[in-house]
Structures are given as C-alpha cells and as structure tokens.
C-alpha cells in the first residue's frame, strides 16, 4: 500500500460511541480492496493480467459502507471499476483474481476478465464495460424482485460520468414509475476518464437530476466510511421497506489514473497529494486509533489483507488456462457457434 496514505488530514474529534467492531470490518474490507487493486496492477505489469484495469484505489469506503448493509440475496450491479464493489458484496477473492488472470476457476473461468467481473452466487450481477448500461439492467432486476414479491433490493453503483447517458434518465424514470426497490449510488470521483466531469455536466449534477425524477437523494463524503455506513443504514431499509428508489451521491476521488496505464498527467500533482491526505483507509485507521485500537491491531489487519492477496496471486498464477472448448461454451442453447467459420 502506498506510504503516502500514512499522512492523513486532521479529522476533528471522533464521533462518540463508535461501533469499533463494525468499523474494523469496514477497515478490513477496504484493505482487501486496496490490496486486490494493487495485485491487479502488479499482475498487469507482470503480464499475467490483461486488458485494462480500472483501480478503485481511494474509493474503497463507498464499496465497504454501502455493501456492508446489503444481504447476500440483495443484488448488486457495478461498472468497469467494479473490483471493490464485487469484493465487498462477498465474492470469492481467489476466483476474482483467477478471472483477472484469465484462468480456470475464475468467476467466469476467464471469459469476462476485470470489466465483466461477476459473481451471481452472491448476487453480484456484473461489472459492465458500457458506461450507464447497468442502470437500466438494475431497474429490471428490481422489477423482477417486485414481480416475485421478494424483499431483496437492488443496489446499482455507477460513476459521475454515467449521468450524461440516456440510460441514466430511462433507468431512474423506470424505477420510480414502477416504484421499485433500487438504491442508486453515484460514486462521484470528479472524473470521467481524463475529463473533469463537471465540465461536461449541466446543472447541479447527480442529486438534482435524481430529485427531478422524484427520487430523494442524499449527498455525502464518500471517503468517510462512517458517513457512507450511516447513509446506507438509513437508505437500504427504506428501499427494502417499499419506499421506492433512493439515490446516494457519494463524493470521492480516484487516487490512481483512469486505468492503471494512465499517468493522469491532466491533474496537478498538488491536487493528488492533497487527495491522498483524504485517503479513506488512512481516515478509517485514524478513527480506529481514536477509538483506542492499537497500532498493532491495525497493522495486523493490513498484514492479513496483504497476505491473503499474496496467496490469491500465487494461486491464480498456478491455476490452469481455461480449456479451449470454453471458447465455444455458454453462447446459446441452439445453433452451432462454429457457424460457417470452420
């Protein structure tokens, strides 16, 4: 983990009666996400991971705080930057790493990779390579839950850039019109790839748009896992209780480039430095210290997360390549996929 995340901005007094155990849980989740992203980047450098990796380093608090309130039978849809959400929803970390390595035993046996990471066994219905596409799919998943009379809910996470595509409007309108159990979470890191999102976004942004569609929105500091946890603690039961769709607008920052290959020269060093001082992991650790947790206990969590990832990396590296027959499997039930090709 980057040493820069050691120096953390002053946070003022710690909230009284912190649930230290819960906070430690979030801490561990965030550490596992951070370590996973770092392992993924390393894998790409080592040429054992392929394609593009969109790290969520710096955004871990949103994943931990929101997913911490979801049940296993709740449904999650994510984006191209979906490792953290998927882990936080409870996916098998080893299977996820194998997926990035394109190996047998990956969540999709290597057919999806990072941008299509998914684990349906824990209700994680997939990252998505198309910005905003997950929003209409999420509305439909919630539509099914309502038809089935189930009390599970859908959580749909997307970025601030996604609110400028049509499916944002169509999906939110749909969710409200059919009064569906969806929690929309806009993970606002200020950027859409190399573009400052606000320069391409009219009006006041995500919350204003959600409200114009009759969906109440809560705006929070997404780097403060306590704030995320508290917001989700209110929103998830409300949605589950039949209040209809809700919107959470979480402000955060992408501490890495858009992809692991992006040096992000388009933003000043000072800006990034300042943001590192708001690193959500450093902040949760500060809270834990204030709550009386020992440095040793904190360090132990770090070691545990890093050790788990070392094992996962080694396991993935040792895993077999997918059988070539997999290329022709799971296309569809009818028709010969070889078509006229061979």
């Amino acid at each position: 983990m980057s040493s820069r995340s050691q120096s953390v901005a002053a946070l003022g007094p710690a909230p009284t009666n912190l649930d230290v155990e819960r906070l430690s849980g979030h801490h561990l989740t965030m550490l596992r996400i951070r370590a996973f992203e770092e392992a993924a980047i390393r894998g790409l450098q080592d040429k054992v991971v392929f394609g593009a990796i969109h790290p969520s380093i710096g955004q871990e608090a949103v994943a931990a705080g929101v997913c911490g309130h979801l049940r296993r039978d709740d449904v999650l849809l994510s984006t191209h930057r979906g490792h953290g959400h998927t882990l936080a929803k409870g996916a098998d970390l080893n299977a996820m790493m194998r997926e990035l390595f394109g190996r047998e035993g990956g969540t999709s046996n290597g057919k999806g990779g990072s941008m299509h990471i998914a684990d349906f066994s824990v209700g994680m219905l997939g990252a998505n390579g198309v910005v905003s596409a997950n929003i209409v799919i999420a509305a439909g998943a919630a539509h099914a839950l309502k038809l089935q009379g189930r009390d599970a809910i859908v959580c749909c996470i997307f970025g601030d850039g996604a609110i400028n595509r049509g499916p944002f409007l169509e999906g939110l309108n749909w969710a409200k019109v059919f009064d569906l159990p969806v929690l929309f979470v806009c993970e606002d890191n200020g950027f859409a790839a190399t573009t400052r999102t606000r320069t391409m976004t009219a009006g006041e942004g995500p919350s204003a748009r959600a409200r114009s569609l009759g969906i109440p929105s809560v705006e929070i500091d997404g780097n403060d896992v306590l704030a995320v946890d508290e917001a989700a603690r209110d929103l998830v039961p409300a949605v589950r209780g039949g209040a209809g769709p809700r919107f959470l607008h979480a402000h955060t920052y992408r501490l890495t480039g858009h992809t692991s290959m992006d040096a992000a020269a388009y933003r000043p060093k000072e800006e990034v430095e300042a943001r590192w001082r708001l690193d959500p992991i450093a902040r949760v650790e500060e809270l834990l210290r204030q709550a009386g947790l020992s440095e040793g206990a904190i360090e132990a969590q770090r070691r545990a997360a890093n050790a788990e990832l070392e094992r996962a990396y080694a396991d993935a590296l040792a895993a077999p390549l997918p059988d070539n027959a997999r290329a022709f499997a799971d296309v569809q039930d009818v028709g010969d996929p070889r078509g006229e090709a061979f």
Binding site: K111, L125, G140, A141
Partner: protein
C-alpha cells in the same frame, strides 16, 4: 385446429404461455390498450396491468430492464412496436442481452423475447419499414425468428418464450391479417432451426422467409404452369437456420434462388448463397442468385415503395433465367 389470423395467433401464443408459466410477462408502450397493432388486445383483462405492463417511451429501458428481469428469473417479452425503434436499444440487446451468458461464464441466462415487427407496410417510409434480420443473425448469442404463417407465429412465439436465450422475434406487419389454421394444442411448438418445405420440386430451390415466402409461393404456381418445378423452403428461423434442409434441396435441384425483402447487400441471403456456393459447387448447375431490395432507404410514395419490393414477376423471371443456364 382453429382458423386464426397471424396477429391472433401471436396473441393466443402469448396468452397460453402466460397461463402456463407465471414467470412470463410482457412490457411495452400502450400494451394496456392492446399495443400499436392490437397484438396484446384483451390480454390485460386476463393477466392484469402488472403482467401486461405499459412502458414509458424508453426503448433502452424496455430492453435493458428485460435483461435485468430475465437475469433474476422472470421471462419478459419486450415489445419494440416497430423493429426500427429497437435501434434505440441496440446496446442493451447486442452488448448486454446477447453477451451476458457468455461473458459471465455461464453464470446467468437472459431469456427475453424482443418483438420487432419488420417490413415495408403501407407507406410507412424510411424509419418504420426496415428488415434488419441479418444484423441479429450476425450477433453471437441471439436467436432470430421470422414467421410467415399464423401457425408458425403461434408455434414459434411459444418456443421463443420458452427459450432460455434472448430471441429477436420479427413478425411482418404486412402479415397481421393473414388467416390460416392454427393448432389448438398448447404444447404444439415449432422448433428453431427447422425449415418448412412449402412446396416440393426438382428443378430449382427457392429459399425465403417472412412475407416474401408468399410471393415466392405465387411465383412457384406460375412457374409450375410453365413447367418449372420449384422447391420452396421457408427458413422460419435465421439463427439457427436449417442449413441441412437447404443443402439437401439444392443438391437435388442444382439451382438456388434466395428471395428476401431486406436490402440484398449484406442481407442474410448472402449467408445462404455463400454457404451453398461453398458446399455444393459441383452440384450447382448454374450460379446461385439473390433477389432483395436495392440499397436504398424505403421511400414513402406507394409507387416508389412498391418499386423496392421483390415482385412475383421478378422471381419468375429470375427462375426462368436460371433454368436456361
């Protein structure tokens, strides 16, 4: 057997499947009032507004929501009104529905039926007349259905609803009033990938689908009178398509003419002609041939619209020319 129109047949099919399987539901604009062509008329009375659901004018959401609802275990029928409007939901259909099962390594299925009425019809002009079946046949993961008769529209729609993969279901607007016998048995399904030999003949094989099948049938009559025995094959589904039936027929006749309403350039007729040319070069007595629309948008004026349609006379001429060589 009951006599029903093509449009009634689809209504019967949907009603039967909705009775059989509570997981089936339909969603689209104006469905509560029967849908734009009346394909859903009366269904809301039996199944209610939750299962015969109105939708906002949000094609991307109609298909996208169907994808999510299908992943969660329901079986949505998504109505596009005109196939042209499905072009507002192509990401959802092609990048999402068609690929989900594969890219998620078989963790999910997307059992949706996307109904896309096709075809030139009553001067509907450029944005309400397209037949883009070849697009979907090109997309891995999609099933493509083009029924030409009431019986097939019933049996194929039922198969589509029971299919665990996304189906692009293309009814031809011009066929809505067509009457025909329709099996009553709710378990009578028409399988995918099995062509129908509309007429047997030894001289020349005509392969067609959707509304053009009827034009070809008339042409076959005329040709028979002139001593040319046509074997007419209605593909019924373009993916999967009945390659075996087509190859067997052309092996026998030695001549292939493909007739389609769609634009001929890069239309599905090219796939059929190419496949036959690849596999039966020696058996062919003359070059394969395609008839289809020229590569122009569909104009409004009836006189111009008609000029784009493959007419019976063109089929007859093409067949006779092929018999001469």
């Amino acid at each position: 057997m009951t006599v029903a129109t093509y449009i009634e047949a689809s209504r019967l099919a949907l009603a039967e499947e909705m009775r059989r399987d509570p997981k089936v539901w339909a969603v689209g604009e104006d469905l509560g009032r029967g849908g734009v062509f009346g394909q859903y008329r009366g269904l809301i009375d039996e199944f209610g507004p939750v299962r015969i659901a109105d939708a906002p004018i949000s094609e991307a959401a109609i298909v996208g929501a169907a994808v999510g609802a299908a992943m969660m275990g329901t079986r949505p029928v998504a109505e596009m009104r005109f196939s042209d409007f499905a072009l507002c939901a192509i990401d959802e259909l092609v990048n999402q529905a068609a690929k989900a099962r594969y890219m998620f390594g078989g963790q999910t299925r997307v059992p949706i039926v996307v109904r896309e009425p096709i075809g030139m019809w009553r001067s509907s002009a450029a944005q309400h007349s397209q037949s883009l079946e070849s697009w979907y046949a090109h997309i891995p993961g999609l099933v493509v259905v083009c029924p030409s008769t009431p019986a097939d529209n019933k049996g194929l729609l039922k198969s589509a609803i029971r299919c665990d993969d996304p189906v692009v279901y293309m009814e031809h607007k011009g066929l809505w009033p067509l009457e025909g016998e329709v099996p009553d048995d709710p378990e009578h399904l028409v399988p995918f990938g099995v062509a129908k030999t509309v007429r047997e003949g030894r001289d020349l094989t005509i392969v067609s689908w959707s509304a053009q099948v009827h034009v070809c049938a008339k042409a076959a009559e005329t040709l028979a009178a002139a001593g040319v025995e046509v074997e007419l094959i209605d593909l019924r589904t373009l993916w999967p398509w009945d390659k075996a039936a087509v190859l067997a027929s052309v092996e026998k006749t030695g001549r292939l003419l493909v007739v389609q309403e769609a634009v001929s350039v890069a239309g599905f007729g090219a796939e059929i002609a190419a496949t036959v040319a690849e596999n039966l070069h020696r058996a062919l007595k003359t070059g394969v041939r395609r008839l289809g629309a020229p590569r122009v948008p569909v104009p409004y004026a009836p006189s111009l619209e008609t000029s784009l349609r493959v007419a019976e006379s063109q089929v007859v001429e093409a067949a006779q020319a092929m018999m001469k060589t």
